[in-house]
Amino acid sequence: MNNFTYIRPATLRDAATQLGKEHGKVMLLAGGTDLLGEMKDDLRVPERLVAIKHLRELQGIRPGRGGVRIGAATSLVDVVESADVRRQAPLLAMAAEKVGTPQIRNMATIGGNLCQRPRCWYYRNNYPCFKHGGNVCYSATGENDFHAILEGGPSYIVHPSDTAPALVALGATVRISTGGRERSVPIEKFFVSPKQDPTRENILQPNEILTEIEVPAAPAGSKAIYVKEMVREIWDFALCSVAAMVTTKGGVVEDARIVLGGVAPFPYRALKAEAALKGKRLDQAAAADAGAAAVEGARPLAKNAYKVPLTQATVARALLSLA
């Protein structure tokens, strides 16, 4: 790992003033579980790290009317254990608990979980791909076992976050600050398709800091579940994951939110599956139909066709568990 200047600002404003106008030279350090690995592998060689995990403005879980506000530097373990999160948005607690290992959840932050870089092995091995400023995605014709089956191209990475699908399903909003100027963005608009820009996964500008996630309380009468399929049983990045939230009234589905992780370059909202479910009684047939609708339009690569039936079955199983 190259050495760097380490800055430990006292306030969010001080942190923001340290940030520059280009990506990569000055970087924010929160939990470090992704960034430090990238630096050890020389994927990132920042001249300056600005520490933000200790900042009070970015810490803590604040219950409010109709939801919770979570500071971006809040540890995942605190999200998992928060009584407020478990009461108001249990789907988020379920997803956060599926991240990494206990040590990772003690170290990593929820903001970092949303901003983490892809796990594609070409990217992680410093191939000169789109993510590293090149003009090719090596997975397209290479070893693509774990790559995108939906919305891929020109880069076929999958988004690795567990909390992101849950937060999209919950309809969360992220707050972004330059220290002086603030903006709020629906989390669905936070993530960037590779068709827009294959070099990055989110809209953050080099001088911006993700400060807070506003999570609305799950609707009354809703049930939710996060299911994650992995190569190993206990921890890994997702082969596919499903964040499903279903609101029923009189035994009929009034609203459904179905968001997939691990299968597309961003958390993928399965709108057709949601539509397929609405107005139906949630039974085996309806769950199966929604599973099939979720993977409609899937275009697997040479080595990841298995992800299509896996995702289809995982959606159906997740939904059926809510019946």
Partner: protein, 206 residues
């Protein structure tokens, strides 16, 4: 089971004392060889190097203050600057758990924590568990069940167990399995590690 008739053996105390003495001796002898000291002997720069920082933290109840390069991980700091070699470097990528130590009550991967980020923290390593010559109940349990084969991952397994049992004193086996999931054992001594954790839970209540 044969393991269960073993008490805390006397030789474990002398072995531990030997190891600890060895580590301290290495620290003392090695002090002229360590990079930080070598660099300290260079002419004093007029401007402070922004790529170095002074870190202050408490490790096993002892306060330390040292100037180090910013890229120094907590694991390097413990092993190379404090000669506390109980935490091991396995993968160096936050995956295997051999480097696990406890920072402010939580088990973390010290290989993927910057030492500067631990400024002001209370750090507990395997060296801080025993009280004098009396092993910690978790250490006793791991010996009783032979909760290891080669032993390389053991200090990490024990530190995770410590952080876990401090929070969940009476775990179920399933809870213990999940709590230990961030510590790999390439010898696959998992069954005995789990037995050690469950016994440790009972010993700590006694």
């Amino acid at each position: 089971m044969a393991d269960d008739d073993r008490d805390t053996p006397d030789h474990s105390v002398s072995r531990r004392a030997f190891l600890k003495g060895g580590a301290l001796a290495t620290g003392a002898i090695g002090s002229t060889l360590l990079p930080e000291t070598a660099e300290a002997q260079l002419p004093i720069a007029t401007e402070p190097d922004p790529r170095r920082s002074v870190v202050e933290m408490t490790v096993n109840g002892v306060a330390y203050r040292k100037e180090i390069p910013n890229r120094t991980t907590l694991l390097q700091f413990l092993r190379e600057h404090l000669a506390l070699t109980g935490a091991k470097m396995g993968c160096d990528r936050a995956q295997c758990g051999a480097c696990t130590v406890i920072v402010n009550g939580r088990n973390v991967y010290s290989c993927t924590t910057l030492a500067v980020e631990a400024t002001g923290a209370e750090v507990l390593t395997i060296e801080g568990l025993a009280t004098g010559d009396a092993l910690h109940p978790i250490q006793q349990a791991f010996i009783q069940h032979t909760g290891f084969q080669c032993g390389f991952c053991t200090s990490g397994q024990i530190m995770t167990t410590k952080a876990f049992l401090d929070r969940v004193p009476h775990p179920t086996e399933d809870e213990a399995r999940r709590a230990l999931s961030g510590n790999l054992c390439r010898c696959a001594a998992y069954k005995r590690i789990l037995e050690s954790v469950m016994t440790a839970s009972r010993l700590m209540q006694a």
